[in-house]
Symmetry: C2
Amino acid sequence: MRRLTLALDAMGGDFGPDVTVPAALQALISYPQLELLLVGYPAAIKNFLVKTDSILHKRLTVIPAESVIPSEAKPSQAILASRGTSMRVALELIKVGRAQACVSAGNTGALMGLAKLVLKPLDGISRPALMVILPHHNQGKTVLLDLGANVKCNATMLVQFAVMGAVIAKLIIGVHRPRVALLNIGAEDTKGLGNINQAAAILRNISSINYIGYLEANELLTGKTDVMVCEGFVGNVTLKTMEGIIRVFLSLLKSSEYSVKINTNLVYQFNQLNPDQYNGAYLVGLCGTVIKSHGAANQRAFTTAIEQAVQVVEQQVPKKIAARLAEWGITKE
Amino acid sequence: MRRLTLALDAMGGDFGPDVTVPAALQALISYPQLELLLVGYPAAIKNFLVKTDSILHKRLTVIPAESVIPSEAKPSQAILASRGTSMRVALELIKVGRAQACVSAGNTGALMGLAKLVLKPLDGISRPALMVILPHHNQGKTVLLDLGANVKCNATMLVQFAVMGAVIAKLIIGVHRPRVALLNIGAEDTKGLGNINQAAAILRNISSINYIGYLEANELLTGKTDVMVCEGFVGNVTLKTMEGIIRVFLSLLKSSEYSVKINTNLVYQFNQLNPDQYNGAYLVGLCGTVIKSHGAANQRAFTTAIEQAVQVVEQQVPKKIAARLAEWGITKE
């Protein structure tokens, strides 16, 4: 079994080591091939290790950090003052080859910015993208990207996102020949924006990509596509819209007088679609994968984020993305 | 009481005169000052007038049309072949001064395109915008625009949308000093796209507008703003995302085994947020107002769309938008 090392930003998120350390130990139990580097304040981390199985400790190394990026910090300022923070140290462990991926529940904007700063893009990738895997109506899953790593995107970037999405859908969701769609505001070829129309023209000519055309945002949860590609501004708005409306629905449900049983069932179903809950957005396209856990993640949710990192590393996602790009003749401009 | 004339595209929508004519009669009963021009196939329209109160007929004129734009037609093609269609004839009744507004449940893209073609923009307006009034969490309402009349928007257009939204929020929702926000992907001044940053700079300097800054899409239903402004591509994606997720929720609710009572209550609450239900999107910024009813509108929903047209005309929305633009020094570039 191949050894596999992940760096965890142990201080990130609303609960810090209180959540990240128990989640790390849980992941070590599940994955005997896993080694974890816990980055943060040693005393705070060790506090949560005292009573645990010392056999697990052999696969766990505490890496000291001097400070922590606050969740509410402005990303631009946080990045300027990031030297020695748990997030940056965790990313640097990938850079120097000690870890293959990093998981953090910290400040999203800072994490995206720092990852781009610290890690190199993969050969053939202009810019990394942030993606989530959304559960859809028909029991399946849809990859949505970019979610804001790149506010504006040109056609080449959208095509690269399509490739990255297709690789993820194949390796992580397990779809044999993933359908890829571009998010647009209508089905006609001339609809929408120039970069989308140009990306469509390129995708139609890549026979290895199962490009199915434009889809509108109301098709995101219908299972009509395995990969939905859009520029970062639009992806961010889409995900936030979803988050906002789910919050309203959950509060409507909770404020109604219906029985606990019903609440629990429906809340569970709706939570499946709650961006707070399907934990772990991927920043893909860099040498090394970065997984963003939700800041409010509990132990189970943070373990899920670690598991996603394990999958991405085991499936050698970055390497396979680079191979597909080369194979399909999509190169950095 | 001032006389008020509306043109109805009697043939538009999934049900045509079957819905539009009874809705028209209902509106005539509610508004004694109202006169309606029903545009379509005379025989089809008259079929639904036979058994009705002949006093109402005095305020109702049938205007013949030769053809109908199919709901599923490609807008670009439909517009090319639009001469003599019920939709176009209805819009032309505004142009020649016989009607002050038009209501149609027909093809959205064709309606937007034709309205721009047939009707002139208001003085000071570069481009008309499509808006909806969304119910929000705290019992209030939020104006959202543009929803796709303008795929790309420059800063001036966004500022004009802000003005139009504020006028609508004041006159139609009844908010004294409407809060206006720009939809963005973060709160920092430098976040998002250049056109949004520039629009923000202009809005901050217009003291008559209660500009409150950037809001993210998850704030759309929280009541933090009375007007949310974005470019058409983004607004369309936002509304469609909402529509898609509401469909999923309604189907989850309907497929669950809970009692009819519970279903009915929750379905009602959720339907409040269903874009199919809060009927009537406004195309504002033209000389004359165009109201787009949902294609699947039933009689009650289509009556609601007519009522919205009545409100817009009675409140002299177009005239007041033009006055605000002049007063606040916002002119067409």
